[in-house]
């Protein structure tokens, strides 16, 4: 399988420098943002669809597994490659090929970093709306695979709402276009099926994304609450009033402490929780909604409501939110988080459960999450060197996922199932539900050579190799 022959052939396609197979060079490719670890046979760094296609065809003939890798920030083990598998990574395919101001689109390669794209198109008065908290590091290819979300997906939808067409390479090297240049295309919505398929359907080599105009007015405020219960009630009050802000994020007391340890985001140290809320639109609209949101916050027990005075203050508020996971490194060396979703009116109930689980297991849990769409991120903080602690964290995570399912929610809002949550799929799907999903995979990848062993339960015993070092994330994302 791992014949040197195959690598020789691949070197002939991409060049000697772009195949990595020395152990020490492979170390950075053996993990992603999750708790898993596995060293691939080799990593290939192709440039262009032609090289990707030829590499895939060679791998296919040789019968090896191929796994795509973006920036390795995935939190469900999506980029983890089995020991005999090839990893294909895209640091060389990181070009923004075109920005079209009439169509409001950008054509990009998969290795383009999310924030680089957004920064680039801002100068044309547009933006790329999906903004995962990892946006300084994660790639558009990885975003496509996971159907990544982010704070502003509350109003604008997740990645799938922003992808118009794609060029993808299938497991056997065939190149196909999914979708088209138009926002709607005849035939089955293969584009829609591909986004969120976690690298199991094909490798995306070009992506046509939709851009939105930057809004006339942006208003960011901080609702400061004495406790997390009242903050949850405020979330329901805002949504229940029929207000869908551009973003509505929750940051609990522990997360506030962690954030303020590394940067002064302007979060009050004595708050029980804060809500970070952003409104966008026409000046008149934003003014009107501001008053309604303010009164909803006061009515539900806010201790204070602060509006960012200028761009600086606004950016500081957001930096705090986006730094949170890194900042957890100041509280404990490791973290492990769960990506469950519940209907928004169940947030209070769910967070009580989080609290209860935290106490029962004796694990610290911080909560910083996309409250507006009910997407929790209870984040367990611990020292992985402590014996048995990882088992405890996993057991606690299992209980939290069960509770999400029981409350009418689901396992993952944006991070994907990957290796991490695959055995929990039966909590929300029947065998028939999953069989229907597998049929689509059969159609895209009949030989199941792309990222196999992910998403669906197969009873294979899954044991994470270790916990993700929070300090490492801090370096990456602050």
């Amino acid at each position: 399988m791992s014949s040197p022959d195959l690598l020789t052939q691949i070197r002939a396609v991409v060049g000697d420098d772009y195949v990595i197979d020395h152990r020490e060079d492979l170390l950075v490719y053996e993990y992603d943002g999750s708790v898993d670890r596995s060293m691939p046979r080799a990593v290939v760094l192709p440039d262009g669809v032609d090289e990707v296609s030829r590499v895939m065809a060679l791998g296919y003939e040789a019968g090896v597994t191929v796994v795509g890798r973006g920036s390795g920030t995935g939190l469900s083990g999506g980029a983890i490659t089995p020991p005999d598998g090839l990893q294909i990574a895209f640091p060389r395919m990181n070009r923004i090929l075109d920005v079209d101001t009439v169509n409001c689109t950008a054509l990009v390669e998969p290795g383009v970093i999310n924030l680089d794209l957004d920064n680039h198109v801002r100068r044309f008065g547009m933006r790329y709306a999906p903004d995962p908290s990892s946006q300084r590091a994660c790639s558009i290819g990885g975003n496509i695979a996971e159907n990544a979300g982010g704070p502003h997906c509350l109003a604008y939808g997740a990645t799938t709402n922003h992808v118009i067409g794609m060029e993808v390479v299938l497991e056997d090297g065939t190149v196909v276009n999914l979708g088209s240049m138009a926002r709607e295309a005849a035939g089955y919505d293969l584009r829609g099926a591909f986004v969120g398929s976690e690298g199991t359907f094909g490798i995306a080599t070009k992506i046509l994304v939709r851009l939105l105009p930057t809004p006339e007015t942006v208003r960011t405020f901080l609702g400061i609450f004495p406790d997390i219960d009242s903050a949850c009630t405020a979330v329901s009050a805002v949504i229940g009033h029929g207000i869908v802000p551009a973003a509505l994020e929750m940051i609990d007391a522990l997360s506030i402490k962690a954030v303020q340890n590394v940067t002064d985001a302007g979060y009050p140290n004595d708050a029980g929780a804060v809500l970070l809320i952003e409104l966008e639109g026409l000046q008149e609209e934003v003014d009107e909604v501001t008053r309604e949101v303010e009164s909803a916050l006061w009515d539900t027990g806010a201790a204070d409501v602060r509006i960012a005075e200028d761009d600086d203050e606004r950016e500081r508020l957001w930096l705090g939110r986006k730094t949170a996971f890194g900042a957890f490194g100041t509280i404990a060396p490791n973290y492990y988080l769960v990506d469950g979703v519940v209907p928004r009116t169940r947030l209070t109930q769910m967070l009580r459960k989080v609290n209860e689980v935290s106490e029962r297991y004796g694990i610290t849990i911080a909560n910083v999450f996309h409250a507006g769409d009910g997407n929790l991120h209870p984040c367990m903080l611990f020292d992985a060197r402590e014996p048995g602690v990882m088992d405890k964290a996993l057991a606690a995570a299992a209980e939290l996922m069960e509770e999400c399912a029981a409350l009418g929610g689901t396992l993952s809002g944006e991070h994907g199932i990957g290796l991490e949550k695959k055995e929990f799929m039966p909590l929300v799907y029947t065998d028939a539900d999953m069989a229907a999903m597998q049929r689509v995979r059969e159609a895209f990848a009949p030989e199941n050579r792309l990222n196999p062993g992910k998403i669906f339960p197969d009873g294979s015993y899954w044991r994470p190799a270790g916990a993700h070092p929070a300090g490492h994330a801090a370096v990456l994302y602050v």
């Binding site: 009439v102 169509n103 159907n147 997740a158 709402n161 299938l170 999914l178 088209s180 240049m181 138009a182 926002r183 709607e184 295309a185 005849a186 035939g187 089955y188 919505d189 829609g192 099926a193 969120g196 398929s197 105009p213 809004p215 949504i239 229940g240 029929g242 207000i243 869908v244 639109g281 026409l282 000046q283 008149e284 003014d287 009107e288 979703v341 519940v342 209907p343 928004r344 009116t345 996309h370 769409d373 009910g374 929610g409 689901t410 396992l411 809002g413 944006e414 949550k421 929300v428 029947t430 539900d433 999953m434 069989a435 229907a436 999903m437 689509v440 159609a443 895209f444 009949p446 998403i455």
Partner: protein, 443 residues
């Protein structure tokens, strides 16, 4: 064979749910009449019918409100109509969660009415909303004039229950607004024209409904002036919720005597939202469009009616076009779309309605083509499909005489992903009993 099938169906779900043979013509799909029709009361009934059809090796043609029953190629296989209108209950409406779950046979108007009680809506904008069903809207993926702002039906669907070709029930997605748990089958089923499974129930996320609507219609001297004015408006922060550009023939076909006519193309800006923002959009749009040859302001209920009229235009049963082509194209193709005025069918030029923000639009003819050479018309339509491909999109012939359908795949040439689509169809419906022959390339 017919009575035999009726008897078998009666055995499967009870005689009450089986239409007598006198009513089969109501379920005709163009020249094709089904050999039986059933109207189950619930998903179990649907499952029983599908399991039976699979055993009997007979086609199944799911039916909703029959507003788009003619869409697609002519069926290739004898089969029964599966009428979903009996599954018409609201299952669960959670205003505070902004979600609603309803059965597939419920009409869009019924759903809208339920949601409006709480100031919410699911902005699908489906044509003929009084009759169109949730299931039909999802299966066709059909969208309305507000798609620039609100997107397509697939963007609002968060969960779906289906019955597969073999009668197995399954679901995808869930009840939450954000979900990446497993593959996104919601999007695969939406727009698959019932060729993969029968949709029995759907869950949507909701949006607060705008409290006020208005519209501005403006006539321009020629296409260039109209396109420039539309593009300028579209680029403004106060851009409307929808912006459509109609050539004079299309403007006339709206049958609205108040619309400015006798000039060049007519742009219609539809504006919705809170009163303060609606006022601002109207004022600024009127200022921007001072140069227009003639401008009309439309307020409130009339603006809503105008939006509905735009949605219904291609499918209006009281004035159905003889040929309707939907062109999917990027927004920058608007000039080429309007230039399709030169595309004649048997000497007749089309009415053209372009969607400025979303891109693409429709070409419509009302002429009687029954005496025209069907294969020649098919050739011309194929030409339009080719032209749309050149623009980076495609063109779907949404309606045309049955004689023309014999000469053309109304969905256009096979796209790059056709091999994958075929494999998907084989996986979901290996014996090809769901809507056989009607979708692209026989999917």
């Amino acid at each position: 064979m017919m009575s035999n099938i009726t008897a078998q169906l009666a055995d499967v779900i009870g005689a009450d749910a089986v239409a007598d043979s006198g009513r089969l013509a109501e379920y005709a799909i163009g020249p094709f009449t089904p050999v039986g029709a059933v109207r189950p009361a619930d998903a179990d009934g649907v499952a029983a019918v599908m399991a039976w059809a699979q055993r009997a090796g007979i086609g199944v043609y799911p039916v909703g409100g029959r507003t788009l029953a003619q869409l697609g190629n002519v069926p290739t296989r004898p089969g029964i109509a599966l009428d979903l209108s009996g599954l018409n209950r609201l299952v669960d409406f959670q205003p505070a969660d902004l979600t609603v779950q309803a059965q597939a046979g419920m009409t869009i108007a019924q759903l809208d009415a339920e949601l409006a009680q709480d100031g919410k809506h699911v902005p699908l904008g489906a044509p003929l909303a009084q009759r169109a069903t949730i299931g039909g809207t999802l299966a066709t993926g059909i969208s309305g004039p507000l798609r620039t702002t609100y997107g397509l039906p697939r963007d609002w669907l968060i969960g779906v229950s289906v019955v597969g070709a073999d009668g197995t029930a399954s679901k995808a997605g869930g009840q939450v607004v954000k979900n990446v748990t497993g593959y996104d089958l919601n999007r695969l089923y939406t727009g698959s024209l019932g060729t993969l499974a029968v949709i029995t129930e759907a869950t949507f996320k909701l949006a607060p409904a705008p409290t006020e609507w208005a519209a501005i219609a403006a006539a321009f001297s020629d296409n260039d002036a109209a396109i420039a004015a539309c593009r300028e408006l579209q680029a403004q922060p106060y851009a409307p919720q929808a912006l459509h550009l109609l050539n004079p023939a299309a403007a006339r076909s709206m049958g609205n005597p108040d619309l400015p006519s006798g000039y060049g193309p007519v742009a219609i800006a539809i504006i919705g939202g809170r009163p303060s923002s609606v006022r601002r959009r109207i004022t600024d749009t009127a200022l921007l469009w001072l140069e227009a040859a003639s401008t009309l302001h439309i307020a409130g209920a009339e603006a809503v009616q105008l939006t509905e009229a735009l949605a219904d235009l291609p499918f209006n049963p009281s004035n159905p076009p003889s040929v309707c082509v939907r062109v999917n194209a990027p927004p920058d193709a608007l000039p080429q779309l309007l230039a399709m005025e030169r595309e004649e069918l048997a000497g007749a030029t089309p009415a053209i309605a372009g969607d400025v923000g979303f891109g693409g639009g429709r070409l419509l003819w009302w002429e009687d083509f029954s005496d025209a050479d069907a294969s020649q018309i098919a050739d011309r339509l194929r030409g339009i499909q080719g032209a749309a491909a050149q623009l980076g999109g495609d063109a779907i012939v949404e309606s045309c005489p049955a004689s023309v359908k014999e000469h053309i795949d109304v969905w256009g040439p096979e796209p790059s992903g056709m091999a994958i689509m075929r494999r998907i169809k084989e996986q979901f419906d290996p014996n090809n009993i769901l809507n056989p022959g009607r979708f692209m390339g026989g999917l």
